[in-house]
C-alpha cells in the first residue's frame, strides 16, 4: 500500500493520455462483451437443451413434414417417456419486423416434454378448452404489451395463407436462466382443421422425452431404424445437437465472432502496450534513479504492471458498465433478428478477466524493459 501513491502519481502524470487509453479500453470492452453476448445467444440453445430430449425431423430436411401417426410408434419404443410434436406457423403480427417464433403444439404432451417452460395451471386449463387459444412467452408478451385475454391477430403466408385471431390464454416463463421466452403456441387441432390437405395430419418435428439421458443413443437409433425405408425416413438427434445444427444455418457465427474478437484483442493489446512503452520511455531517468536508490528490478516491473493493470481495470469496468446499459437496448432493437441478448454474470466475469489479461500482457514488455534497465546507461542519457 505504501507504494500506491507512487503508482497512482505516475498513472495520472498525463491525464489526457490516461483518459484516451481508458476510453479505448472501455470501447473495446463494450465490443468484446457484445460479441460474447451474441455468441452466447447463438449457442444458448445447446447450453440449455434438455439432456434427456431428442428431436426427430425428416431425413430430407426440417421443412419436410412427418405423419402424425408416427407419434404413437415413437411412443412405443422402450425408453421413451413422452412425445410431443410441433409445426412452424410462420405468421406475421402487424408487421414483418415484429418477428417471433410461432409453434403449433400438441397440448396433450407439451408440458410433459417441455418441463422447463412453465404455464400456470389455470391458464393452461383455459388454453386446453379454447380451440383458438394461444400461449405467449413472457418476453414476447412484454414486448408487445400483451396481457391474458387479448385477441392477437396473426397473418400467415404458409399453409394457404390467411389471417386468424387467437385468444391469449396464458403466458409461460422459463425456469432456466436464459431460457427461450419468445415463443407463441397455438393449438394443433385448430391448425389441423384449417390446414390444406397436404399439411393435414402432419407434424413439423417431434420432441421425445426419455426415461434417462443414458438411453439417448439407443433410442435415437431405434427411431431412425423404425422409419428406415419408409416414405418418411427420420433423422433423430439430441436436442443440443439439433440446436447446434440450427444455429449453423446462420453461417459460422462462432468463427466470425472469434475473428472479430481476436482483432479487438490484438488492437487493444497494441494500443495499451504502446501507451505503456511510451510512458516507460518518458521516465527512463526516473526509473534509473529508483533503481539507484535501492528499488529492485522486480519492484520496478511490478510498478509498470500495476499501472497497466489499473488502466485495464478502470477501462474494463467502464466498458462493462456501458455494455450492461447498452445491451438490453440493443437487444430490444434487434429483437427478431437475433436470439435474446443476455449479459450474464459469467460473461461479466469473462470481461473482467479479459481486461486483466490484456492489462498484464500489455505492461509486461515495457515492464521487463524497465526491470532490465541499466542505471549507468539510463543516467548517462539524461
Amino acid at each position: 500500500m505504501k507504494f500506491s501513491r507512487l503508482i497512482f502519481a505516475n498513472l495520472f502524470r498525463k491525464k489526457a493520455r490516461l483518459i484516451l487509453t481508458i476510453g479505448s479500453f472501455a470501447i473495446a470492452l463494450v465490443l468484446f462483451t457484445f460479441l460474447a453476448v451474441v455468441k452466447s445467444a447463438f449457442s444458448r440453445g445447446t447450453e440449455i437443451a434438455g439432456a434427456d430430449r431428442l428431436v426427430v425431423v425428416s431425413r430430407i430436411g426440417l421443412m419436410q413434414l412427418l405423419p402424425i401417426s408416427d407419434r404413437d410408434k415413437i411412443l412405443a419404443i422402450p425408453g421413451v417417456k413422452a412425445v410431443t410434436h410441433n409445426h412452424w406457423f410462420g405468421g406475421v403480427y402487424q408487421d414483418e419486423k415484429n418477428f417471433f417464433p410461432q409453434f403449433v403444439i400438441d397440448p396433450e404432451y407439451q408440458r410433459q416434454v417441455m418441463t422447463e417452460l412453465v404455464v400456470p395451471d389455470d391458464q393452461w386449463n383455459n388454453f386446453l378448452k379454447d380451440r383458438q387459444g394461444a400461449i405467449a412467452g413472457a418476453r414476447t408478451a412484454a414486448r408487445f404489451h400483451w396481457k391474458v385475454g387479448d385477441r392477437i391477430p396473426i397473418k400467415t403466408t404458409l399453409y394457404g395463407g390467411g389471417s386468424s385471431e387467437f385468444n391469449l390464454d396464458g403466458i409461460y416463463h422459463s425456469d432456466r436462466p436464459g431460457g427461450d421466452e419468445s415463443q407463441f403456441w397455438l393449438q394443433w387441432k385448430y391448425f389441423d382443421e384449417n390446414a390444406p390437405a397436404p399439411v393435414k395430419s402432419t407434424a413439423g418435428w417431434y420432441v421425445v422425452k426419455l426415461n434417462s439421458p443414458d438411453d439417448a443413443v439407443r433410442v435415437a437409433k431405434a427411431i431412425d431404424e423404425k422409419f428406415a425405408n419408409s416414405s418418411f425416413e427420420t433423422k433423430t438427434e439430441t436436442e443440443s445437437a439439433f440446436a447446434a445444427g440450427f444455429a449453423k444455418q446462420f453461417g459460422n457465427i462462432e468463427l466470425l465472432i472469434v475473428t472479430i474478437g481476436g482483432v479487438v484483442f490484438f488492437t487493444l493489446l497494441l494500443v495499451t502496450g504502446n501507451t505503456m512503452a511510451i510512458s516507460v520511455r518518458e521516465r527512463t531517468s526516473e526509473l534509473a534513479v529508483l533503481k539507484a536508490i535501492g528499488f529492485s528490478g522486480r519492484a520496478v516491473l511490478c510498478f509498470v504492471l500495476a499501472e497497466s493493470v489499473i488502466i485495464a481495470l478502470f477501462g474494463g469496468f467502464l466498458g462493462l458498465a456501458l455494455a450492461y446499459l447498452a445491451i438490453p437496448v440493443i437487444g430490444i432493437a434487434l429483437t427478431g433478428l437475433l436470439p435474446p441478448l443476455i449479459l450474464s454474470k459469467s460473461l461479466l466475469t469473462l470481461g473482467v478477466g479479459f481486461a486483466l489479461f490484456v492489462g498484464a500482457v500489455s505492461g509486461l514488455l515495457p515492464g521487463i524493459g524497465a526491470m532490465r534497465l541499466r542505471v549507468v546507461n539510463a543516467l548517462r542519457r539524461v
Binding site: 505504501k2 507512487l6 502519481a9 502524470r13 531517468s285 539507484a292 536508490i293 528499488f295 528490478g297
Partner: protein, 247 residues
C-alpha cells in the same frame, strides 16, 4: 585520511584495490581505470577532478555499486561489493549509499516530501516514523516550508536541496555527488556547498564528489586527479587554491 598508494593498513571506510574498468566500443577495448587504489576514512570529503572521459563518473558508479569493475575490489565498511549478486547489491545501495545527481532527478509527480520519502519506502519504518525522518532531512536542507511543493514549483537550488535530503534521509554510510553544482548559478552553488560542508562538519558524513570546478573542489578535504586511469594525489584542495592553481 585519504590515500591512493594502496599501502594503508588502517581500517578505511572505503577501500579500493587494483580497480580496473574496461569498455568495449566497436570492437576496441578502452581501459578507463587502471589498477586504481583508494582509501577513504569516515568523515572524509574528497573531490575527484579530471578531463572529460577520464573516468570520474565511472569511478563514482563503481563505488556506488551501479556498475561492476573488470578487475579489483571495493570494500565498504567491511563489505566487499564487487562480487555481490545484483539483488544483494541493490539492497546494499539502499542501506549504504546516498546519491546526489547533477540534474537532481526528482520524480516530478511527487512532492518534495514524497521524493525524500522514497528511500524509506524500502525500510520497515511506519508511516509516522517515515514522516519524522523526512521532516528531519528537509529541516537539515532548510526546506521544511516547501515539503508539499512539486519539483516544478522549486528553483534549481531548492531541487538540489531536496535531492540532498533524499540522499541523507536513510542515513547512508557515504554520499556520492556527481557534479552537484553543475547545473546551478554561482550563488546557488555556494549555498549547496555550504550545505555539503555542514553535512561533513556537523554530521560527520563521508562524501565523494566529482566536479569540474576547482573552486567547488577546493571545499573538499582532498582533491584527487584522475589521469590516464589512475588517481594522482596532490596538495590538499585548499593549498592548491591558495597557490593559485587548479588543484
Amino acid at each position: 585520511m585519504i590515500r591512493v598508494d594502496g599501502r594503508s593498513d588502517s581500517q578505511s571506510l572505503i577501500r579500493v584495490r587494483g580497480l580496473n574498468k574496461t569498455y568495449s566500443r566497436g570492437g576496441e577495448k578502452i581501459q578507463v581505470l587502471q589498477g586504481l587504489n583508494l582509501d577513504v576514512d569516515k568523515g572524509d570529503f574528497v573531490a575527484f577532478m579530471g578531463p572529460s572521459g577520464s573516468g570520474k563518473t565511472t569511478l563514482l558508479n563503481l563505488l556506488g555499486g551501479l556498475d561492476v569493475p573488470s578487475a579489483g575490489s571495493i570494500t565498504v565498511d567491511g563489505d566487499e561489493i564487487t562480487h555481490m549478486a545484483a539483488g544483494k547489491l541493490t539492497q546494499w545501495r539502499a542501506r549504504h549509499v546516498g546519491f546526489i545527481f547533477q540534474m537532481y532527478n526528482l520524480i516530478p509527480v511527487l512532492t518534495a516530501f514524497q521524493n525524500v520519502e522514497l528511500p524509506l519506502l524500502l525500510t520497515k519504518l511506519s508511516k509516522s516514523e517515515r514522516r519524522k525522518h523526512v521532516e528531519t532531512a528537509l529541516g537539515v536542507v532548510g526546506l521544511t516550508d516547501r515539503m508539499n511543493h512539486y519539483p516544478r514549483q522549486l528553483s534549481g537550488g531548492q531541487e538540489q536541496r531536496v535531492t540532498i535530503a533524499r540522499a541523507i534521509v536513510s542515513d547512508p554510510t557515504f554520499l556520492l555527488c556527481d557534479e552537484p553544482t553543475g547545473d546551478l548559478d554561482r550563488k546557488s552553488a555556494d549555498e549547496i556547498m555550504l550545505l555539503i560542508d555542514e553535512l561533513v562538519g556537523k554530521y560527520n558524513k563521508t562524501i565523494l564528489m566529482v566536479t569540474h570546478d576547482p573552486v567547488i573542489a577546493a571545499r573538499s578535504h582532498t582533491t584527487l586527479h584522475l589521469d590516464k586511469g589512475v588517481l594522482v594525489e596532490g596538495k590538499t584542495s585548499r593549498e592548491s587554491v591558495l597557490a593559485g592553481g587548479a588543484a
